[in-house]
């Protein structure tokens, strides 16, 4: 290993609240060498961000380092005077934050935001600093960067702003870059580009990088070594491949096991860690993971384990009852052996017998309820039909506010969903998937086309008729905090849909609520409590219960687990699957997370810029993608496996989503497509069948269509 640039030794950080003290980081030690990337992973509240901020000495109010040492190239930072520390910040250590939308000053041109840091640390003229700012902008991939120095942050997209933030961080060529969730707010395609850029710059500038993230997929691909944090402690540290293949801490194992993989067998329950992380104002004695650990013994609850070495150099863990390697995971058998352009999912990782025991051998679930429910008479009509749905928002401008253009949010989308089925919708943000979800439940009005439930077009219904249809169409929202009224008790939140619809008596409503609460795993006392008294995962359970109070047929779940931590996410996913069977629900699941959509869905639709570009069964879409966009999406989704991730060095989808006001002519994906030709700009590709029920709209598909329907298809599919 090279000379350590950063050495952190027994760092402890506390945050003083008005009545208590949060022991955010306790006794954390690690080092990073030149040109090395150290991943710091853990769930929210585990202290990973506070560790990063401790190094910068930029702790939030009330935060202070209580003990330990931080050495940057041999220089002790903890004891430095604030004035001296200021000339270290931005100069020798730089930081990139998560939220590129709020991290740039909205009222200052970006050129000045970069150059002010250069001027702070280098004695250069204003003009020279701006020239250097332009240089760092070109470094992060802005062509003609000097022309953009006078632009303001809102004139850039999220991905571009993240690049600008990286340009700021790198403008003084720091020795250490702390990247705190640098890509969490971005789409997978942009995420891959930004992470690639960071990697590239790290090598060019010989920096050390501390990559703070909750995403095991991101560390798998980018980190040389990984620290796993839990409740303020490092519980395991190892070289990346070693950690993923031979972890010893049950938490590391459980964390990995709770992530749905693209290769996941959908019939299996996901592993989930029971409970929630401890409150760090009063951390439990002994091992902090013990209350959630299936292997915990009395010793774990009383005596705290310290990091101990293994035979592998640099692999340490803190556990009394270590596991060996990942938990057994049932990988879906590959039904078709067709060629696929996307990197194939890995075979089952070697499973330690102990690991399988620790995970609590996952119980197979019953076959999907579709088959049970299909027995009901349906007159051969699919439960939900979306036919040529169009939704466009006018863009008004000028003195008279005339409509000058339209944002084509949903353009001519058609698909159908059978009873008991789960239909997944994936795509980048801004592709129109959320608008489509709202169209389905009648929260948005169609401009053209129809949405039919049991053969009845809901867009033609009067407000009164629609109200009764809403019983069957419910929505589960992404944000568990914002979607529940903070001033209503949970009981009132759950009763409201029934009251509005005039369903049942007070007593029967109460009975429904009590049943639902127990079904989603909340105590009956929850009725009297307010949403803020619950954790994120519990609130999402309340959201699911609310969607189910009217016993709907269709639930549209918009990013149901995106706001949740990994270990909580799998609890909610399992719950959604279980309730689908119990209530014979039909789901439309909207998510940008391919693994989540794949785990829940029977069939999948891929959306791009308002268009459905590919639709088919899960296996068709994931194993035999036809559209270049689908293939690119699958290739860029980070998977928690270092072997797969490190092999994906090239960026699969270049560029950014074009404006939905002026979508590209012909095929809308052509501006970012590796296979685009002139035809793609001239003609919009028709939907063609590639397999039974597997449709895609591409002139130059990755597979031969089933039966070439028209002339273009014959010439095109060469």
């Amino acid at each position: 290993m090279s000379v350590p640039i950063l050495e952190v030794e027994s760092l402890s950080t506390e945050i003083q609240l008005s009545r208590s003290v949060v022991h955010a980081v306790g006794d954390v030690s690690f080092s990073i060498g030149e040109g090395e990337t150290l991943g710091l992973v853990g769930e929210s509240g585990c202290g990973k961000s506070i560790t990063g901020l401790s190094i910068m000495r930029l702790l939030p109010n009330g935060g202070h380092i209580t003990s330990g040492a931080i050495r940057l190239a041999g220089r002790e930072l903890v004891k430095l005077k604030e004035r001296e520390m200021r000339s270290v910040r931005g100069n020798e250590v730089a930081m990139v934050f998560q939220d590129s939308m709020t991290s740039l000053n909205p009222t200052m041109p970006i050129g000045r935001q970069i150059s002010e840091q250069i001027r702070r640390h280098r004695s250069v003229t204003k003009k020279e600093a701006l020239r250097q700012a332009a240089d760092s902008l070109s470094l992060v991939g802005f062509p003609r960067s000097d022309e953009r120095l006078g632009d303001y942050p809102h004139q850039f997209s999220g991905g571009q702003r993240q690049r600008i933030m990286i340009a700021i961080a790198l403008s003084c060529e720091p020795k250490l870059l702390i990247a705190d969730e640098p890509t969490t707010a971005l789409d997978v395609t942009i995420q891959a580009q930004i992470l690639g850029l960071l990697d590239d710059l790290k090598e060019r500038l010989g920096m050390a990088v501390l990559l703070v993230t909750h995403d095991m997929g991101v560390v798998a691909g980018r980190a040389d070594r990984v620290n796993v944090m839990y409740a303020g402690r490092i519980v395991e540290t190892a070289p990346t491949v070693e950690l993923f293949r031979h972890m010893h801490h049950p938490y590391t194992q459980a964390l990995l096991a709770s992530i749905p993989l693209l290769s996941q067998d959908r019939a299996e329950r996901l592993f989930s860690i029971p409970g929630i992380p401890p409150d760090l104002t009063t951390p439990p004695p002994g091992c902090r993971f013990a209350p959630r650990c299936s292997r915990a013994t009395d010793r774990c609850r009383e005596e705290e384990p310290t990091l101990q070495p293994t035979e592998v150099d640099g692999h340490l863990f803190a556990c009394w009852h270590p596991v060996d390697g990942p938990a057994a995971r049932i990988v879906a058998p590959d039904p078709g052996k067709l060629a696929t352009p996307a990197p194939e999912a890995p075979s089952a990782p070697p499973a330690g017998s102990e690991g399988a025991a620790a995970a609590g051998s996952p119980a197979p679930v019953r076959p999907p309820a579709a088959r049970v429910a299909a027995a009901e008479p349906d007159q051969g009509v699919p439960l939900l039909v979306i036919d040529s749905a169009v939704r466009a928002y006018p863009v008004k401008s000028g003195i008279l506010q005339r409509t000058v253009a339209t944002v084509k949010a949903v353009s001519d989308v058609s698909f159908s969903v059978e009873r008991g089925e789960t239909f997944g919708l994936v795509g980048e943000s801004g592709c129109g998937k959320t608008t489509l979800g709202k169209l389905i439940v009648g929260l948005e009005k169609l401009d053209a086309g129809r949405v039919a439930l049991r053969g009845t077009d809901i867009s033609k219904l009067s407000a009164r008729e629609l109200r009764s249809f809403r019983r069957d169409l419910q929505m589960m929202f992404q944000d568990p905090i914002a979607s529940l009224d903070p001033r209503m008790r949970v009981g009132a939140i759950l009763r409201e849909p029934m009251r509005v619809q005039g369903v049942g008596t007070a007593a029967s409503q109460r009975a429904v609520i009590t049943d639902l609460l127990s079904e989603v795993g909340l105590p009956a006392t929850a009725i009297e409590r307010f949403p803020h008294e619950f954790s994120g995962g519990q609130r999402q359970r309340i959201g699911l219960a609310r969607a189910l109070t009217l016993n709907p047929q269709v639930v549209v779940a918009d990013e149901p687990v995106s706001a949740l931590d990994v270990s909580i996410r799998s609890q909610v996913l399992n719950l959604m699957k279980r309730l689908q069977q119990v209530h014979s629900l039909t789901y439309v699941v909207i998510s940008h997370d391919l693994a989540v959509v794949k785990y829940l869905s029977d069939r999948i639709g891929v959306m791009y810029l308002g268009k459905l570009v590919e639709v088919g069964s899960v296996d068709d879409v994931y194993r035999r993608p036809v559209h270049h966009y689908t293939a690119g999406l699958i290739a860029t989704a980070p998977e928690p496996d270092p072997t797969i991730e490190k092999s994906k060095r090239k960026v699969a989808i270049k560029g950014e989503l074009p404006s939905p006001i002026n979508p590209p002519s012909g095929c809308r994906f052509r501006t970012r497509c590796p296979a685009a030709q002139e035809l793609c700009a001239e003609q919009e590709p028709p939907m063609r069948a590639f397999h039974d029920g597997h449709l895609a709209a591409c002139h130059f598909p990755l597979q031969e269509p089933m039966r070439p329907a028209d002339k273009e298809a014959q010439t095109a599919s060469v």
């Binding site: 931005g90 000053n105 909205p106 009222t107 200052m108 809102h154 700021i168």
Partner: protein
């Protein structure tokens, strides 16, 4: 942006037209028979009818409204029969005094409240912050006339530092120069305004301080001074622009309570006196002016915000 401004002016004009309609309706409602109101109860019906005919009050209502508008456009705001003077000249005599009192206190309070609010936000929960908060709440919750009386009691009656009455000069220049005489009314207005503005500025600055760009500015190694001046202040005063724009009507309409309390010439006192004398033409003209001032204030605030905030400016 030009299109936005033109549209904004257009909308403002429509609103002003609406206000004129309202005041016209109010006039009719208060004095359905203006001749009778002017000539008094003892006048003969024939004289009343003749007066009404002479002044166009026998025309249909829409024609009367049109005539009213026409007069307004020519600066004819009506005639005060009580004071035997045109309302326009009354306003011209009194407006400068009000403008000076309210204007100087608004400027003073901005100069005090913005730094104070930002300071309180930066030193949140410190002794200084909590003291300022307590004082601000006390001042804010105090009726303005009570505060004025307190100031008169201490500074004028007990210690004789300032006179209890504002300058009585009818001319504006001597009025402005008599700063000692006008100290107490301006102080009363300023203290109340600072109490409100500083609270608002404090919370706006707290919002800005919580933003990531402040953290990024610190992560750049900037001094705390640079963070506050370059990054915090501009963003934190954006919400104040709207608030200050909304206080323009007070500026133009004069301050009723303070002008009455300190017996200062001005639109507020004029309004107060007209109201007590049942001088309705003056009252209604002042109402119209206050309405127009509100619209203008809003417009100015919007334009100022457009200039100050690049997000609005460019898109």
């Amino acid at each position: 942006m030009t299109a936005y401004l033109i549209r904004r002016v257009f909308i403002s004009l429509i609103v002003i037209l609406g206000i004129s309609l309202l005041t016209f309706v109010m006039t009719h409602w208060i004095a359905p028979n203006p001749g009778r109101a002017v000539l008094g109860l003892k006048a003969s019906p024939a004289a009343v009818a003749a007066w009404n005919r002479a002044h166009g009050y026998d025309n249909p209502v829409w024609a009367q409204y049109w005539g009213y508008l026409w007069k307004l456009l020519h600066g004819n705001l009506g005639y005060s029969y009580k004071l035997n003077q045109s309302v326009a000249s009354l306003i011209a005599e009194n407006a400068p005094h009000s403008l000076w009192l309210s204007g100087s206190s608004v400027v003073l309070s901005i100069l005090i409240a913005i730094p104070l609010g930002i300071f309180q936000a930066v030193k949140r929960n410190s002794v200084a912050d909590q003291t300022a908060t307590a004082v601000a709440f006390t001042a804010y919750s105090m009726p303005q006339n009570f505060l004025g009386i307190l100031l008169i009691g201490w500074l004028a009656i007990t210690w004789h530092i300032f006179p209890a009455e504002a300058s009585q000069s009818e001319k504006i220049i001597p009025y402005i120069l008599a700063w000692r005489a006008n100290f107490l009314p301006i102080a009363t207005l300023t203290i109340t305004a600072v109490a409100g503005y500083s609270r608002y500025q404090r919370s706006a600055a707290l919002d800005s301080l919580a933003q990531e760009y402040i953290r990024l500015a610190r992560a750049k190694g900037l001094t705390e001074r640079a963070v506050l001046f370059r990054h915090l202040t501009r963003n934190a005063i954006l919400p104040m622009v709207t608030l200050i724009g909304l206080s323009i009507p007070v500026l133009l309409g004069g301050n009723l309570i303070v002008e009455d309390l300190f017996n200062s010439h001005g639109l507020g006192l004029l309004f107060f006196n007209s109201l007590s004398n049942e001088d309705f033409p003056t009252v209604i003209a002042l109402t119209l002016i206050a309405g127009i001032a509100t619209v203008v204030g809003n417009f100015v605030a919007d334009v100022a915000l457009t200039v100050a905030d690049p997000r609005i400016r460019i898109s």
